[in-house]
Symmetry: C2
Subunit: 186 residues, 2 copies
């Protein structure tokens, strides 16, 4: 692995499309071998995001079921959201957990920071494991209450086989949790 | 879980921004409880995508190191790409493996189809495990040759700790591979 590999030079960058939520930037690049390419990437806000894996007890996860506009379907996953200005990741994770699942957590453990698709997006998401839960419902901006579904840890294979549990960040969060729990037992 | 939960009605949908690669659709939704919201989602092509986890031998994965425009950095991950018209996922996976890593595979095993972020994208990606490799370099559309990095399976924790191995689809692919391998040993 070459740690000193020179990044491409950005010869020109310009916003070529913009909507309320999305901003597309065209990037004229010159690679260190002289090759030139025009790529496009999304420019987002600089707000980070969090995803929370809530453990109701030692044997049970909580999932939420939420409408996903991209696929126009209801999807299973873990509570998640953007970090608000002034929040850190743990505070944001606890708030999202309260808004989306109706629980707070006395213990939040960072598992890993993941990215969506670094070829196109800069955004990062902190995956947190939430334990020692207590009931606390806060009102978020969801258009409808989310279904909250307890899922036994011994039925993880059945979850991974479901066609409505596909988001790669939720799969990463699930498998990182399983790995973390296995390491605690060693 | 309510399998009959009514999806929101799409009252209006219109393209509000468009670039060479991206198309943003504004979606006026009415949820079953009467709440209305305007969401935005990306409309992509209908081409699927593949990601391939190549096993050089029983103890070694292959990673590639590629420039990611979204983060303007070199990132570790697995070979991936879009499925070309007329290809199925296995054919596309083998082609991407040849173009990006210089190997073909005699055995390709589908592990799971994942999504990027179903709230915003419809795109799906098939994760494939590639074994029984043979050297074959094909020329793709990469601007520069990619670094190909053998990574021992017993150093997975070190990989997960790296700040340049963060893409959630690669993390999902890695952990699904570890899980699949563990199940073979049972």
């Amino acid at each position: 692995m070459d740690p000193n590999k020179r990044k491409p030079d950005i010869i020109k960058a310009e916003i070529v499309a913009e909507s309320r939520l999305f901003k597309v930037e065209s990037l004229h690049l010159k690679f260190s071998n002289g090759e030139e390419r025009v790529f496009e990437r999304m420019r987002g806000g600089n707000r980070g995001a969090v995803m929370v894996v809530p453990m109701l007890d030692a044997d049970t996860l909580l999932l939420i079921r939420e409408y996903a506009a991209g696929t126009h379907s209801y999807e299973l996953g873990f509570p998640k959201g953007l970090i608000d200005p002034g929040e850190d990741a743990l505070t944001a994770g606890n708030r999202e957990l309260m808004e989306e699942a109706g629980f707070g957590a006395n213990s939040l453990i960072p598992l890993k920071q993941v990215s969506l698709a670094p070829g196109y997006f800069a955004s990062k998401m902190d995956i947190l494991l939430a334990r020692d839960l207590f009931p606390e419902q806060r009102v978020g901006d969801e258009p409808e209450p989310l279904e909250v579904i307890p899922w036994p840890l011994n039925r993880i294979d059945a979850l991974l086989e479901r066609e409505d549990f596909t988001e790669s960040r939720s799969i990463s969060a699930l498998l990182l949790t399983i790995k973390w729990l296995a390491e605690q037992e060693k």
